[in-house]
């Protein structure tokens, strides 16, 4: 997809995120808005998937390890045709396929149930091992939050990814610097992430602006080194695209009210 078309897509996905969280009067807009470009590059350019056949065995796999950013994923899946767009209105409602956090049992296109942080990347590692064992050339992608990196399981999974030489695994880190209780540094400093992941055996590609489509796509297109998992460390803006949400800790898990929705949608027009 052209950069121009993808830019428009991203704006539409952001409007969907605002509408879903506003309709549900709950959800996580901040971290959903920060991963839009990663999802757009994956789903519109890179991943080999078939929305008409969501269980196709040879499809590339995607696991949203930071499962609370489900609105962003649901917006993309609806746009790709995994389920009708009208479903977005049912986000977080009783009997909906769009649970508060992704549910593989209920939602077409969701490959693993996530939300308990740290687990998604570990499940993705298992998928990548399984793909190799089955002799399939498919790729496995996952997105972790930066706060999520405080979970020990992320590092257990990372050790295994290098140990099993998973060059079919790409891990995105959404490094927006904020988590529920404050900045990463206020809560639990993450240190030098590039150095940490490099020392764990990843091929690390750092993206200065993870909300820039060209930069994200370029990182995805960097040749995957043989025998190593790849990690794309994206510096992003939490709440990206909505002026009053950008870089605000308070917009982690708060839904916009009617007036805030109106303003956000106005800013995201076009």
């Amino acid at each position: 997809m052209t950069n121009e078309a993808l830019t428009l897509k991203c704006r539409q996905l952001r409007r969907d995120i605002i509408n879903m969280t506003a309709d549900a009067a709950s959800g996580h807009p901040g971290g959903s808005l920060s991963i839009v470009e990663m999802l757009a590059c994956l789903y519109y350019n890179t991943m080999n998937i078939d929305p008409a056949n969501p269980r196709w065995e040879d499809r590339d796999r995607f696991v949203l390890s930071k499962g609370h950013s489900a609105p962003a994923l649901y917006a993309v899946l609806a746009d790709k045709g995994f389920f009708p767009r009208e479903e977005l209105k049912n986000f977080r409602q009783l009997h909906s396929i769009l649970q508060g956090h992704p549910d593989a049992k209920k939602c077409p296109g969701v490959d693993a149930s996530t939300g308990s942080l740290g687990q998604g990347i570990s499940i993705a590692v298992g998928m990548a091992i399984g793909a190799k064992l089955a002799g399939k050339s498919l790729q496995v992608y996952t997105i972790c939050g930066d706060g999520e990196l405080q979970e020990g399981l992320v590092w257990e999974a990372s050790m295994a990814a290098a140990n099993y030489k998973l060059d079919n695994l790409t891990v995105f880190v959404d490094n927006n610097g904020l988590q529920i209780d404050g900045t990463n540094d206020q809560v639990m400093s993450l240190g030098d992430l590039n150095a940490k992941f490099t020392s764990f055996g990843y091929q690390v590609v750092e993206v200065a602006d993870g909300n820039d489509l060209e930069q994200v796509q370029a990182a995805l297109d960097v040749k995957h080194e043989t025998g190593k998992p790849k990690l794309i460390l994206c510096h992003t803006v939490k709440g990206k695209g909505v002026s009053f949400m950008e870089n605000q800790v308070g917009w982690h898990g708060k839904a916009p009210n009617a007036q805030e929705r109106e303003q956000a949608l106005a800013e995201l027009e076009g």
Partner: protein, 311 residues
């Protein structure tokens, strides 16, 4: 009942045999392959064995991922660590209903010398509380083979609770159907419902009780979930008194599962739970630990005798 074999040894052999039959079977361990005996499988099928290292949580979620690729993963470590990775078992595997099997060994207080930190007395309680989980506690080596085979045929999560020590192998061929209790000894005064390595203890206790004129039925309830409720009600009616015996806490295990059936069916009969009475285990020779916790043959027989007298 002369020959003895550890259930965990049978587990390793059964996995290896299953691996031969079904190339989708893969096995994961967390640096305990020579204790859980998954090494038997690993030696035969090194390509299908994955050591997670000392990282149980990652082992469970890797198994979850492998299952989504069409494999049938058996993940093994000590039963006490099922608690450590409860979140991965709950959210990573059971919530989406993934097809992962948990072969957890060294269960119960007969782990012995390693002590209370390693003696799982609450794993069944934890696993029972998860929707969709099947729980099987085989009583001997032969039943372990059947349980492993059955687990692979079930679509969804299965928890196999496996003992460490050599235990007697029952000579007679017993039927094995998941969710169906086996009556090993008929009786009229009291029904003893048990599982795992307590089955043999209870049969011996029943023999001692018979000499004292007490007729005790012994039921091998190898599947704790889904429980054979019909069997519980049948023995409640025929014996009018039920005792459960388990190498597990009396909170949340087999005893509570049976008691729940009685309560829900307004079955007001004498009922007693023999097991670990809300305390942690401790180091000691397995037989000494069993006696300390009232789970040796003599203690079980004495408890049932007293219970039958008060009926």
């Amino acid at each position: 009942m002369s020959e003895k074999k550890a259930i965990r040894v049978a587990y390793g052999e059964a996995l290896a045999a299953l691996g031969e039959e079904n190339e989708k079977v893969v096995v994961l361990d967390a640096d305990l392959a020579h204790a859980t005996m998954t090494a038997t499988f690993a030696n035969k099928f090194p390509q299908r064995f994955f050591n997670a290292g000392i990282a149980e949580a990652n082992m469970i979620d890797m198994a979850a991922g492998l299952s989504t690729m069409g494999f049938i993963p058996f993940a093994s470590t000590f039963a006490v660590f099922a608690g450590r990775c409860f979140d991965q078992i709950r959210n990573g595997v059971c919530y989406p209903g993934f097809n992962v099997k948990f072969g957890m060994t060294h269960a119960g207080i007969t782990l012995g010398e390693d002590g209370g930190s390693h003696q799982a007395i609450e794993d069944v309680a934890l696993m029972r509380s998860i929707p969709g989980m099947t729980i099987i506690v085989p009583c001997d080596a032969k039943e372990t083979w059947r349980a492993v085979k059955a687990a692979a045929e079930i679509q969804g999560p299965v928890y196999l609770r496996l003992a460490r020590l050599p235990s007697p192998i029952f000579e007679e061929e017993m039927p094995f159907e998941v969710g169906k209790a086996n009556t090993l000894r008929e009786g009229t005064d009291v029904a003893v419902i048990t599982c795992g390595i307590m089955v043999d203890e209870c049969l011996q206790a029943a023999e001692q009780l018979a000499a004292k004129g007490i007729s005790a039925a012994v039921i091998n309830m190898h599947t704790i979930k889904p429980l054979d409720e019909e069997a519980v009600l049948r023995f409640a009616s025929s014996c009018g008194a039920i005792v459960t015996v388990e190498e597990h806490s009396v909170i949340g295990g087999l005893g509570d599962a049976v008691g729940d059936v009685l309560l829900r069916n307004r079955c007001a009969i004498p009922f007693e739970k023999i097991g670990v009475q809300d305390r942690f285990g401790q180091s000691g020779k397995p037989d000494d630990v069993l006696a300390e916790y009232g789970l040796d043959v003599a203690s079980i027989a004495a408890r049932i005798e007293k219970f039958a007298a008060s009926k």
